[in-house]
């Protein structure tokens, strides 16, 4: 842990010295581009986004050349502690007093909603890579808000469909008790019911719960076929581990992690996690391009990237490209440009940012390998199928976003 702390410090220093002073004139409002990375640096979502997101953003800036139109690109980062008020007041100060041009990461739906709402008033682009709730692009959509990596509509399409088709008709949910969990539970429930399944019960667990045993026993006594975990990060890991301790799976019920990251699988271990199916936007060892980037990331971060880390890299890169091509940091112009671009890099192929802010791209249904199938520490997933973008995301015909209809 001391090691990680030192790495963090080195990272922070590197970020501070990244400011490359260059001459040439441009139409940037304050003679620089400043990107804010607002993430959970200390809690339940630290390993899936957190300090790794700062590294991913730094890599994007370095790969871009460190400057745009001859002006420096800077990073500022902070810990929102999963508290929406802290997130919002940090963002407010960044925008009012620190000249931040774009805010990314935001791996907590409550925080994301509050920051996106504020940024909408202040006309600042947010590129959300970490939060899940579809409210960001539906009921509370913003002309400056972009939802980049996944949402709670895309997650159950593959996972829940596969579970129901394999006979898991009756579902019981253990739900993280805030915007993200509620949204994921509702959207998953809708998929289950549309396929002829049934939701038999639900229990809300506070964010960052250590002991899931009483919730798991409730789920067990409900007689459901599937226990759907509408939570994420450390919460999912704890729930799955404790289900194993209480022999829930051995007693005949299946667990469905509705949002699982590769770091979660790594921390549970294959013995416990094997066979688990979930939906992701990115698999690090899918092809040579992803592997090359992921190994560079691993070298700096000490762990392989989650889909969110790769998403931060991709989002920052495309934002900088849009600034470069339009020659301005004016949010309306840049957002319009982003809407015209077709996004292609190691993370996304043929992605499009829809008018409601949703970045439409393909997702993958994956399964955790058996211990015997794994060749290395991070070789953990098999891709089962691709979920095309038009199935994964809400179509512009159906969106409730007021910007579209």
């Amino acid at each position: 842990m001391f090691k990680h702390w030192k790495q963090g410090l080195v990272g922070a220093v590197a970020a501070a010295t990244l400011t490359l002073p260059l001459a040439a004139a441009g139409a940037l409002s304050d003679d620089k581009i400043k990107i804010g990375v607002l993430s959970d640096m200390s809690g339940v979502y630290k390993s899936l986004e957190g300090p790794g997101a700062v590294i991913a953003a730094q890599m994007a800036i370095e790969d871009f050349g460190g400057s745009v139109m001859g002006k420096p690109i800077e990073i500022i980062s902070a810990d929102h502690q999963n508290k929406p008020d802290i997130g919002a007041s940090t963002a407010r100060e960044w925008i009012d007093a620190k000249e931040v041009d774009m805010i990314t990461a935001l791996d907590n739906s409550s925080v994301a909603l509050s920051v996106q709402g504020l940024a909408k008033d202040k006309k600042i682009i947010t590129m959300n890579t970490g939060a899940g709730t579809t409210a960001l692009t539906e009921e509370q959509c913003s002309p400056y808000g972009i939802h980049y990596v996944y949402d709670t509509h895309a997650l159950p399409v593959g996972t829940a469909t596969a579970m129901v088709k394999n006979g898991g008709k009756r579902w019981f949910f253990i739900t993280a008790d805030y915007a993200f969990g509620h949204s994921l539970r509702d959207n998953t429930g809708a998929v289950v019911e549309s396929l002829g399944g049934e939701v038999v019960g639900n229990v809300n667990a506070p964010l960052s719960t250590n002991d899931f045993s009483s919730y798991l026993l409730q789920a067990q006594s409900s007689g459901a076929d599937v226990i759907g975990l509408a939570n994420a990060g450390q919460d999912t890991v704890n729930a799955i581990k404790q289900a194993n301790q209480f022999r829930i799976v051995q007693s005949g019920q299946k667990l469905a992690g509705m949002l699982v990251f590769i770091t979660d699988v790594h921390s549970m271990g294959l013995d416990i996690a094997q066979g688990l199916q979930f939906t992701t936007a990115f698999v690090w060892n899918q092809n040579d391009e992803t592997r090359a980037w992921s190994e560079r990331f691993h070298e700096r971060h000490g762990a392989m990237p989650t889909m969110v880390h790769a998403g931060v890299y991709s989002a920052v890169t495309h934002y900088l490209e849009a600034v470069k091509e339009t020659g301005t940091d004016d949010s309306d112009t840049v957002r319009a440009k982003l809407g015209e671009m077709t996004l292609n890099d190691m993370f996304v192929k043929g992605g499009k940012i829809a008018p409601n802010g949703s970045m439409l791209h393909d997702m993958y249904l994956v399964e955790v390998k058996k211990p015997s199938e794994s060749n290395s520490e991070w070789d953990l997933l098999n891709v089962i199928s691709k979920i095309p973008a038009d199935q994964a995301y809400i179509s512009m015909a159906d969106t409730k976003c007021s910007l579209v209809n």
Partner: protein, 298 residues
């Protein structure tokens, strides 16, 4: 609601209850002799869990010592270490505050809580790090008929009960215990009889702290080890103490166990109230029996 569910949740409630009991017992012992509410009691519990975790997983990585301290060794070593910290705090800091208003003791220990909590938050994730050192012999599952229950949790319940009742027996039924009680009742007179009261106070504080550390080691394999684990617990334990009253050791133990059960059963009948039921009971006790169920007003 089936009987099976009620029994299962009751057992889980008891599982929580033994931790309430151990912590409120330590608080009661310290309060009895020093008249101080040790806010840092939760932090000592957290510290206990962290020492066990560090001893098992991080000694080599951090300090280059290639030793691994297992669970059983931790169960003995950790309370001693936390007790030693208790001695330091009592001798260096608390002792100077005895002549002042007792709230200064509370404020001091609150400050210590912030320091310990902040220190560990720097190096460990606030949502918890798993303790991997649970002994192989306790890793199985027991089929209780109405449910499968992890062997380790059963062990934690039994072990804590033994510790609680041994403490009660020691204080209420041994010679040393009776001297201790005399020190509580009348420190000046006890001193006059040639007993070293300051030493007794130090050892009592250390004992209370050690008890919290022991609870921390026991909790480590069940809950993830987190810098906030003590803070979340200690406020509930305060309510337990107000309900039980500070008067008796047995009162602290019984109210801890009972309130754990109550909380577990609330989860069956009305889950949203599970986190508040103890506080509402506290309000009722304050209204109808202000000194607490087992307490005598001081």
């Amino acid at each position: 609601m089936s009987m099976q569910v009620i029994l299962a949740q009751a057992l889980l409630g008891l599982n929580v209850g033994v931790f309430y009991a151990m912590l409120s017992l330590g608080l009661a012992v310290i309060f009895g002799l020093l008249n101080i509410i040790n806010f840092a009691h939760g932090a000592m519990y957290m510290l206990g869990a962290f020492i066990a975790l560090i001893g098992y997983s991080f000694l080599e990585q951090w300090f280059g010592i290639s030793v691994q301290i297992g669970f059983w060794a931790s169960l003995i070593l950790v309370p001693l270490l936390v007790g030693l910290l208790g001695v330091t705090i009592e001798r260096l800091l608390l002792r100077r505050l005895y002549d002042l208003d007792h709230i200064y003791g509370l404020l001091l220990t609150f400050g210590i809580t912030l320091i310990l909590q902040g220190l560990f938050s720097n190096y460990f994730n606030v949502s918890g790090t798993p303790y991997p050192g649970q002994p192989e012999s306790l890793s199985g599952v027991v089929d209780l008929g109405f449910m499968y229950f992890p062997t380790y949790r059963l062990f934690a319940i039994v072990f804590s009960l033994v510790v609680c009742f041994a403490t009660w027996f020691f204080i209420e039924h041994t010679k040393l215990g009776s001297r201790l009680r005399a020190g509580v009742e009348n420190p000046d007179l006890t001193q006059a009889f040639g007993l070293n009261v300051p030493l007794m106070i130090t050892l009592t504080f250390a004992f209370g702290a050690g008890l919290a550390g022991l609870a921390g080691v026991l909790a480590a394999p069940i809950y993830s080890v987190s810098p906030l684990m003590g803070a979340d617990l200690i406020i509930v334990v305060f309510a337990v103490v107000v309900i039980g009253g500070m008067g008796s050791i047995m009162g602290a133990i019984l109210s801890g166990l009972a309130l754990g059960l109550v909380e577990g059963l609330t989860k069956v009948f009305y889950p949203p109230a599970a986190s508040t039921v103890i506080f509402f009971l506290m309000v009722l006790v304050l209204l109808f029996r202000p000194a607490g169920l087992f307490g005598k007003e001081k």
